[in-house]
Amino acid sequence: MTYEETIRQKVIEVLVDEFELDQELLQPEATLYDDLGLDSLDAVDMVVALEKAFGMKMNDEEKIRAVKTVDDLIRLIVSIGEQHAN
């Protein structure tokens, strides 16, 4: 499994377990707000859950706010992971 696939799997796991979302809905292009029914109130929960799952800090508010789809979310985690590695 590639690095990105591992991340994808874990993000989906978090969304299913911690947010009780239906796995089938979690397509890459699914939008968090319209398709998955998450709203701004969920943003903090999302950050908390992902920080815990990946053991890293998310602190770029602009980048987090720019996340629209499941794929955006995965790409954000991948990029933070790469920053950490450097």
Binding site: E18, L41, D45, M46, V48, A49, E51, N59, E61
Partner: protein, 501 residues
């Protein structure tokens, strides 16, 4: 029984939210599990001497400052007699193993002069520190009332989220100056490595801008609110614990208390957020939110001695001074139960600040505090108030003696002999205030911990209290305001409150 809003808890946050909602014509019932309203602001008496628990002094009560503006809006001010600390009033901080004692005045100007006097080589760092604190606070609507509230409240990370310890180290290499600038940690309970510069700034700035006492202490605030709430038709039911928040069709339907069911479309819970899970079926939330509530970390605790002196004149000097003795460096809140000489300590005499202190005996009261750890009470944690084992009383007496001995060494010359009348441990704070692990200020407002704000995912359920916004009287009052604002319309309510400037 039916009402519009049930508020669980009658601390300053619940009282504030109740007053705001009642002003808007809402029918409000407050449920309080203790026999008297007021939460941490209640006073208690020993040998006729009144003692404050959760109120020694506050900022925010100067003209045009937020707490005063809010109380003006709520018509609470006429019932209160505010006593500003006079210019010579200060937090007198002595640093252990050093000959330095610094008077931290409640004024930027005086404090700056004093710091420059004691640390003549650190002028640059001192000025920069003060500029930093002021400039952070100028971006916070509660200090700069021209700003809108929503952007501040919806911000995920908040301003200035670097840690205080690092910030101080870049400002000055002088460990003693770092120590002094750290002292507000006593008032928010978070060690400098864990606290954001912004959280520190909020607390520090509110005191650097002026400190205030009130005739009658925290109890006077409670009494003023209760009297206004009575007029507005708000019922406060004491000795009445909320046992279940009822949910129907995926929204709140009311509260079941020890005596009855109250139906209401909205419920505000002001207790420690972790305790929300004790009275609601957690399945109404997503697992992620339950975990957040469950895993909230708390501030450290305190061991507190309430004592008296025979001759109130001996305390004259202490009236407008809070005495602190602190460890050098960043270890201000470190706990040393077995070697009290290493522990930071605070001595204060809030009762003396009442204008009728002498005639009411409150001039004799002295309060001593040291940081304490929940583990210190490991052997007694299963016990409840009134049913503690004898060994607990022995431990408490022993700790009281140690604290008094240390106070005598440090300040005996000024205050003379203190006779202990009562003591509070982490267990007292847990059982009297409902703070898990006896955390003195409840939820820790620390870096990396996301506090749970007023809004929840369950329609009709709201949170409030010191754990949801900021700590202290000011923080908890503002949390009550923010929760009411979220329910009624944030910016509209903010506009109305600001008009009372």
């Amino acid at each position: 029984m039916n009402t519009d809003v049930v508020i669980i808890g009658s601390g300053i946050s619940g009282l504030t939210a109740a007053a705001l909602l009642a002003q808007k014509g809402k029918r409000v019932i407050i449920l309080e599990k203790k026999s008297r309203p007021g939460g941490a602001l209640k006073r208690f008496k020993r040998q006729g001497i009144p003692f404050d628990v959760g109120f020694h002094y506050t900022g925010g009560l100067g003209k045009g400052e937020i707490l005063r503006v809010l109380w003006e809006h709520l018509n609470i001010l006429p019932g209160l007699s505010i006593q500003p600390f006079p210019p010579h009033g200060n937090d007198q901080v002595s640093i252990k193993d050093s000959d330095k004692t610094v008077r931290c005045f409640f004024s930027y100007e005086l404090l700056q002069k004093e710091l420059q006097r004691v640390f003549p080589h650190e002028k640059h760092g001192i000025n920069e520190y003060m500029d930093t604190i002021r400039s952070i606070c100028s971006t916070i609507p509660f200090f700069n009332l021209d700003l809108p509230l929503t952007p501040f409240l919806r911000n995920l990370f908040g301003p200035a989220n670097t840690n205080l310890a690092d910030a101080l180290k870049t400002l000055t290499k002088d460990q003693e100056l770092q120590t002094i600038l750290n002292t507000p940690a006593f008032l928010h309970g978070v060690p400098p490595e864990n606290v954001s510069l912004a959280t520190h700034a909020i607390v520090a700035h509110s005191y650097y801008s002026g400190a205030y006492a009130l005739d009658g202490g925290g109890q006077a605030i409670v009494d003023a609110f209760v009297s206004e709430l009575n007029k507005a038709g708000v019922h406060i039911k004491t000795s009445c614990a909320a046992q279940e928040i009822m949910v129907h069709n995926s929204r709140v339907s009311g509260v079941r208390s020890s005596n009855e069911e109250i139906h209401a479309a909205d419920v505000i819970f002001t207790g420690h957020p972790t305790h929300l899970l004790d009275i609601i079926n957690g399945q109404v939330f997503r697992p992620v939110y339950c975990n957040r509530l469950r895993e909230l970390k708390n501030t450290g605790s305190m061991f507190i001695v309430f004592g008296a002196v025979d001759d109130p004149d001996s305390l004259q000097e202490t009236t407008w001074v809070n005495y602190y003795s602190v460890q050098k460096g960043m270890g201000l809140l470190a706990v040393h139960p077995e070697s009290p000489e290493n522990s930071s300590m605070m001595l204060t005499t809030p009762g003396r600040r009442d204008s009728d202190a002498i005639s009411t005996n409150s001039a004799r009261g002295v309060i001593l505090m040291r940081p304490a750890d929940w583990c210190e009470t490991a052997d007694f944690q299963k016990s409840e108030t009134g049913k503690r084992p004898a060994a607990y009383e022995d431990w408490k007496s022993d700790q009281t003696e140690k604290l008094l001995g240390q106070a005598h060494k440090l300040w005996g010359g000024t205050i003379g002999e203190i006779k202990p009348l009562a003591a509070g441990s982490p267990l007292t704070l847990r059982d009297e205030l409902g703070n898990p692990q006896g955390g003195v200020y409840g939820v820790k407002h620390s870096l990396g911990q996301f506090i749970t704000g007023a809004r929840t995912r369950l329609p009709g359920l709201w949170l409030s209290g010191q754990g949801t916004l900021m700590t202290g009287i000011m923080g908890a009052s503002l949390s009550g305001f923010v929760t009411a604002g979220e329910m009624l319309g944030l910016e509209e309510l903010w506009d109305e409150v600001r008009q009372c400037r």
